[in-house]
């Protein structure tokens, strides 16, 4: 998605003179042409001041796009996102790389499976988890001007399936009767084919906030069993799912990243296998749920 980030930001930057690009000393080569403009800076490695600085730019009418590594943006500068953008209600676009354990070999200091859960605690911050480059381009272009802070989680994993996604909307990719699979972001490569073969709903989300509250009402069968699969710590959509099934007794299973430091290195794929993010393990979990009693 990083290549797409360059293309999308370049396209919009040249079109909209209010955009101000701030790089946290990453992606500098890719943006070398834009960095000749005074509306683009490689600000350095100082995330707290960077976010507050961006809020000042927003105050005088610029549209900041801040790009750096997820854990440093969200973890280190959480309070700046919360107060300077959330509380002050200013427009800002925060685009991270290094999703969950994308930087597997670099160790826990560079992992960030907590970003979505942390950011959900900032009341008016919008959260977008694109499934692939196409979806990032589409949603970002659609919403970057909205007068609210927005977080875009870019990942190395990309769904092969291209969906006609919209900001703030979920999508129903399959209908069935046994289980409803709730898939968040780049998890369709391990879920979509299997769901298509089985008698299950597949509901796909790329925007976590604002959440598409009406999507579950569009299902032909509102199943009693739900499997949530999300490529970070558990909890990105659980509150919203529970609210959508208020009057029902439901059974929920999940495939998420467990709350533990992932101290192995290797590749992202190796971690995926270990943690249950594979077609095989998804199918086993789904079929077990299908055959279980409530």
């Amino acid at each position: 998605m990083r290549a797409q980030l360059n293309k999308t930001v370049k396209k919009l930057f040249l079109r909209n003179k209010k955009i101000f690009l701030i790089l946290g000393d990453i992606g500098v080569y890719g943006f070398r042409e834009l960095l000749k403009s005074k509306r683009a800076v490689n600000i350095g490695i100082l995330e707290q001041a960077t976010i507050s600085f961006a809020s000042g730019l927003s105050k005088v009418g610029f549209i900041p796009i801040v790009h750096t590594i997820a854990t440093f943006m969200v973890g280190r500068a959480f309070e700046q996102l919360k107060l300077d953008f959330g509380y002050n209600q200013l427009n800002g676009n925060f685009i991270s790389v290094g999703a969950s354990y994308d930087y597997a070999a670099l160790g826990c200091s560079h992992h960030c499976p907590e970003d979505i859960n942390l950011l959900k605690n900032i009341p008016n911050l919008q959260i977008i988890v694109p499934g692939n480059s196409h979806e990032f381009d589409k949603i970002f272009s659609e919403c970057y001007m909205k007068n609210l802070p927005k977080y875009f989680r870019l990942s190395s994993e990309e769904n092969k399936l291209q969906c006609n996604v919209k900001f703030g909307k979920g999508m129903i990719l399959n209908q069935g009767r046994d289980v409803t699979v709730v898939a968040v972001g780049p998890v369709l490569n391990i879920t979509h084919d299997i769901c298509k073969k089985l008698n299950v709903n597949l509901v796909y989300f790329t925007t976590i906030r604002p959440f598409d509250k009406k999507i579950f009402k569009k299902l032909k069968v509102k199943t009693k069993k739900i499997l949530i699969i999300e490529p970070f710590y558990f909890g990105s959509v659980i509150e919203e799912v529970l609210n959508s099934y208020k009057d029902s007794t439901i059974k929920i299973e999940n495939i998420s990243i467990p709350y533990k430091f992932l101290t192995n290195y290797g590749s992202k794929k190796q971690h995926d296998e270990e943690l249950g993010f594979s077609k095989k393990k998804f199918e086993i979990k789904l079929k077990k749920l299908m055959n279980s009693k409530i």
Partner: protein
């Protein structure tokens, strides 16, 4: 003028049973000079894009800003009398969404200064000739984001940015800050020391011209103007009772 404002700060704190009174008193002279002599009040009232900005990074000193905004007709006495009541617009830290004249909601330290640097960069880009003034505490200078911002401001030559440091020695019990002038200078700023209660020195410093961002280290007395509060840590965050409030009113 500031004698009346000291009484008003005491009154609001007494009515609201809240407030960081000594922290407001150390910066009252500075804020008064900014609003009385430097910024154009009408541009602030009209939210003009060309306005000067004052950003109180040490938000807990907001009582001083409130009473000056009241004196300058930007906020009303009736509204300010509700200080810290449940539905008041005026809390113990200033809210930019509720109060005209407050540019940034502050409270947690180390936020307003980098925010001000962003405003300064933005206004330079827009070719707006305005002053961006921010006021930080010496205790606030413990925060890393202060020094991060010093680097950003000097690197980008933000000579429309002024940072006033309220050196009221409140940090000394934790971390001694020592020579702030040489610290700011070493970060590429122009820096001066002044008496933060001398209106003449404050005005002169605020009008200094420099190619660099300007740091004004204002030596102040925490609690200035109320004898029993002066340099008395007991009063850092404490509301006034009726007896002490009446004592202040009689004196001023």
């Amino acid at each position: 003028m500031t004698a009346n404002l000291i009484s008003r700060i005491a009154e609001i704190s007494f009515l609201g049973k809240e407030g960081h009174v000594p922290s407001a008193l150390s910066i009252l002279d500075i804020i008064w000079v900014i609003y009385d002599k430097i910024v154009n009040i009408n541009l602030i009232k009209n939210r003009s894009q060309k306005r000067d900005f004052f950003i109180l990074s040490k938000g807990h000193g907001c009582l001083a800003q409130y009473v000056v905004l009241e004196e300058k007709g930007i906020i009303s006495k009736k509204d300010l009398n509700t200080f810290c009541k449940y539905k008041s617009n005026f809390g113990g830290h200033p809210d930019s969404r509720k109060i005209k004249g407050v540019e940034c909601s502050t409270g947690s330290l180390g936020h307003g200064f980098p925010f001000a640097a962003g405003v300064a960069y933005g206004n330079k880009l827009l070719n707006i000739k305005s002053k961006i003034i921010t006021l930080v505490g010496d205790g606030e200078c413990n925060e890393g984001s202060i020094w991060e911002t010093c680097m950003i401001a000097s690197h980008h030559k933000l000579n429309n940015l002024i940072c006033i440091i309220d050196k009221n020695k409140s940090t000394d019990r934790a971390l001694k800050i020592d020579d702030l002038k040489s610290k700011f200078k070493s970060f590429g700023w122009h820096a001066v020391n002044i008496n933060g209660h001398s209106h003449k020195e404050i005005l002169k410093a605020l009008n200094l011209k420099s190619k660099k961002p300007l740091a004004i280290i204002a030596n102040t007395i925490k609690g200035k103007g109320i004898n029993f509060m002066e340099n008395n840590p007991e009063w850092h965050h404490k509301a006034l009772d009726k007896v002490l409030f009446n004592k202040i009113i009689k004196k001023n």
